[in-house]
């Protein structure tokens, strides 16, 4: 059984019939967006994450037919058209937050969604927002650091901001 759907990937429009059995992950990889990785296939690892209308989803647990009317962003659509890396990508490179690289597309996309949300995040909230991604190389410290740097422009230092309270809390911990 096939169903016609219209959607966009990285601002490129598509309109065709998809097999109802196909996951979004399978469809994207078939279209050549192989930066979207297949990991566990059951929503545990986050390697297949893509942004759908700006929010991160596991594309393995998302039927291709559900993409009808959606705007999808994959890792291929994060850098500028001239090849210049995004703020998030630069931060991941600078911090060496990439080891084997399998979790990187998903993490960069989720971090991109956080940056674009315009909201502030405490360190704990940031950990929570990135918790849907497993890094088998266990490079979490650099990943978290890269995410913090990506969000730096958004952190404000008002007294009631979570970013203001954080350093104080850290000192207390010591």
């Amino acid at each position: 059984m096939f169903k016609r759907i219209a959607f966009s990937v990285n601002a490129k429009a598509f309109n065709f019939e998809v097999d109802i059995r196909e996951s979004l992950l399978e469809m994207l990889r078939r279209l050549g967006y192989t930066g979207t990785k297949k990991g566990c296939g059951v929503g545990e690892c986050g390697a297949c994450s893509v942004l759908i209308d700006g929010m991160p989803f596991d594309s393995c647990l998302y039927l291709a037919v559900w993409a009808d009317g959606k705007q999808i962003t994959t890792i291929e659509g994060v850098a500028a058209k001239n090849g210049e890396l995004s703020v998030v990508q630069k931060a991941f490179v600078d911090e060496g937050a990439v080891q084997c690289g399998f979790c990187t597309p998903g993490l960069v996309l989720t971090t991109t969604a956080l940056v674009e949300s315009g909201q502030d995040y405490t360190r704990d909230e940031l950990k929570r927002e990135l918790s849907g991604h497993l890094c088998r190389c266990t490079g979490y410290q650099s990943i978290l650091k890269a995410a913090e740097i990506s969000l730096q422009e958004h952190s404000c230092s008002c007294v009631d901001s979570p970013h203001h309270k954080q350093p104080a809390a850290k000192i207390e911990e010591r």
Binding site: M1, R21, G46, F57, L61, Y62, R128, S131
Partner: protein, 293 residues
């Protein structure tokens, strides 16, 4: 490829119930985080799916005029967590929502699906049990309200009749107004984990006594459950560390814990006694009472 033999979409509840009445073999799919995983593992094969994803009316969370909180079954966990009404009125549900899975799963998994999947470990269940939630089930012939305690029949088994769809979760004002609550999920990790035990407690105070205490437990038996013996005991008792300790002990009597690879029966019972006390102590403070030392 998933093992799907047919796929239908409804845009209204009436359309969905009509399709279901015509073809009772249709399997409902909401967020898909349980259904698709069961297909992946082969537990569901050759499925004809009826997607509820396009029914916009099921997404809303609102407070009715009489104060009843109405949560659309297709509200995602992210939506539940971020909803200002729920955060203010029933934070034990929003805390439960944020404890579930990770962000990508919360962005798609629905509260209705969580309940209808019938798992004892459903993260929303212990809170909904403590809040005496009522479930609105709609079929082609009409609708009915079922208390959540009557909805769970066994592991993976719920009281959804063929042709019925869970459309709304209702929480009456008498069940949450004036109550303070606390939710505790005990798991090995702080994210992406299934609860070893989940406890949701609400309490209402009257001067220095408990007017009412309600305790919902998850993973303490084959279905989520309530600790009725402990609740009955608590009524009218003085708020003290001794009373709270006794409530914790009595709560174990209602648990039907078993040994699984996650934890042993003995350990789970220990968790029930300890976590019910911890949750109740916080709930007392949240209900406006003094902190017990």
């Amino acid at each position: 490829m998933y093992d799907i033999s047919g796929y239908y979409e409804a845009e209204t509840v009436a359309e969905a119930t009509a399709l279901l009445a015509k073809n009772p073999n249709l399997r409902l799919i909401a967020g898909g985080t349980d259904v698709l995983i069961k297909m992946h593992s082969g537990q569901i094969a050759d499925a004809e799916l009826l997607s509820l994803r396009k029914i916009k009316s099921l997404n809303t969370i609102r407070k009715a005029e009489d104060g009843t909180i109405v949560i659309g079954a297709m509200a995602t966990f992210t939506k539940v967590f971020n909803d200002p009404i729920l955060r203010e009125m029933i934070p034990i549900l929003t805390e439960a929502a944020i404890s579930m899975g990770g962000p990508q799963i919360r962005n798609i998994a629905t509260i209705g699906g969580n309940v209808c999947n019938g798992a004892t470990s459903a993260d929303s269940a212990s809170s909904l049990f403590a809040l005496n939630a009522q479930l609105k089930l709609e079929g082609h012939q009409g609708e009915r309200l079922v208390p959540i305690r009557k909805f769970y029949l066994g592991p993976g088994k719920v009281a959804l009749q063929p042709g019925e769809i869970l459309t709304e979760i209702l929480i009456a004002p008498d069940d949450y107004q004036g109550f303070g609550g606390q939710y505790i999920k005990f798991a090995m990790r702080e994210a992406m984990d299934i609860a070893t035990l989940a406890v949701a407690v609400v309490c209402k105070l009257q001067a220095k006594t408990f007017a009412e205490v309600r305790i919902g437990l998850g993973v303490a038996g084959p279905t989520p459950l309530r600790c009725l013996e402990a609740e009955e005991y608590a009524k009218g008792q003085e708020i003290s560390a001794q009373t709270v300790a006794e409530i914790g002990k009595l709560a174990v009597n209602s648990a039907k814990a078993r040994t699984s690879w996650r934890a042993s029966k003995d350990y789970r019972e220990h968790l029930v006694e300890e976590l019910v006390q911890r949750a109740l102590k916080k709930a007392i403070v949240n209900a406006g009472g003094e902190e017990l030392v």
